[in-house]
């Protein structure tokens, strides 16, 4: 019934959303990624040194960050940053009757308001995962060099061997799925806002809390579904 031609696709909204939730999130995801990489590496190094198992630092950091921490950290940051912004934006548009104005013009709010946000996060989140994973690995590598005297060259050579590429794909797939759900949750709560400030604030809170909960639940599903993929047996 609803035929959507390519000309109908709200390109401007999609690229605006990509910029806001993708490009603008690069500094904070880099900072958090780097620090997590350093801390994880530091704590692991303390333990590994006791057992003389220094070189396993690459396995721990590599697997942990690429498969688990990278996607989840980025998702939580984006849920807090962009999820809340999306809910608040839709909520304010409800309060100011902008959504009603769109409806009376016959604009489909699903296509115009929800779709660009979902597409933007499905694209932006995996890219942010890649970005922050890379920086977290650098953080871990620096820390490993300082603590355990593991050279960068050794780290680079060992990483692809102990962390099969499947892990990277899993991380990126998680990013896309997390992104889709964060945007859907944000839009759901945004469109539920009643025209008053109380409803606006409670829905924004609910949006962030739900998005983070959903991300963690999805992550558990991923862990189960991918338990036989990409792990050294």
């Amino acid at each position: 019934m609803s035929r959507v031609s390519p000309a109908d696709l709200p390109r401007r909204e999609i690229s605006a959303n990509l910029y806001k939730s993708g490009v603008r999130a690069m500094p904070v995801t880099a900072l958090v990624g780097f620090l997590i990489g350093v801390v994880l590496s530091y704590l692991s190094a303390l333990q590994l040194k006791q057992f003389g198992a220094d070189i396993f630092i690459v396995n721990i950091i590599g697997l942990g960050i690429v498969r688990e921490l990278g996607p989840v950290l980025v998702a939580i940051l984006v849920a807090g940053r962009s999820g809340s912004a999306m809910t608040a934006q839709l909520g304010v548009m409800r309060v100011t009757e902008e959504i009603d104005a769109l409806a009376t013009m016959g604009v489909q709010r699903g296509l115009r308001l929800v779709f660009p946000k979902v597409v933007a996060l499905i694209v932006a989140l995996p890219l942010l995962v890649l970005w922050s994973t890379a920086i977290a690995l650098i953080g871990g590598m620096v820390s490993a060099q300082v603590q355990l005297d593991i050279s960068y060259g050794f780290f680079f050579q060992t990483l692809p061997r102990v962390v099969p590429a499947a892990n990277l794909w899993i991380g990126l797939a998680k990013g896309a799925v997390f992104g889709m759900f964060i945007a859907l949750v944000a839009c759901h709560f945004g469109l539920r806002v009643r025209p008053n400030t109380e409803s606006l604030s409670s829905n924004t809170t609910a949006s962030v809390v739900s998005a983070i909960t959903v991300v963690i639940i999805l992550d558990a599903f991923f862990a189960i579904a991918t338990r036989s993929i990409g792990l050294p047996s």
Binding site: M1, S2, A7, D8, V92, M93, T96, E97, E98, D100, A101, A103, T104, M105, G106, V107, Q108
Partner: protein
Amino acid sequence: MNTPVIRIRDLSTRFGEVWIHKGLDLAIERGEMVSLVGGSGSGKTTLLRMVVGLLLPDQGDIEIFGEPLFGGGIARERELRQRFGVLFQHGALFSAFSVFDNIAFPLRELKRYDEDAIHDLVMLKLSMVELLPRHGRLMPAELSGGMVKRVALARALALEPELLLLDEPTAGLDPDRSDSFVRLIRMLGEELGLTVMLVTHDLDTLAALSTKVAVLAEQRILAYGSIDEIMHIDHPFIRNFFLSERSVRALQNSGLPAVPN
């Protein structure tokens, strides 16, 4: 006989246990300017929102230009919606867009015009509502209350609708601005041959704009007719409403400033 522009039949609305409308009927003919009046909370805004399809009635049906608002596919619904414009009480301008982009929005949605044509059309609409080309660059947050209404009116008229619906067009404007806005609506209405339905509390607006008055009371349209006819109906609400108008007039005639009520 022509089909009425708006036809409401046997409409009933309930919020929780309370019936707001019960068996409400109203037919508005082409070219009329109808003021909808009624006590606070009598369901005027609700009725207007139903006419434009933002709310669904619990019972009864509404036809615009002889067609139902819903059904028949998105393309048909869209086409029907392009034949009427809505002016929301607070303007409902898209706050992320400039004045220019707000007025251009419905035109761009059509995908029928190129950017040059859109530019010309927006400038035309701006001058129609007595704004200057340079106002196009402003953001909604930078506008005065009166300007917001004018921009919203320009946007509502962008697609040259046949029907204009206004919720409290003069609420929140000072008497001067309110007068000039009413004059503008009246002039454009006559020039463009619009059918107008407006909700108002303000007697000056009502007196200056309407060819007909619809009184919403007792959950239905209690009376529908010219101002003169309505004024002679003996009903507590109508008596109250128009008596206060007389007192306002009397005050004006005696040279004292009108007391806003």
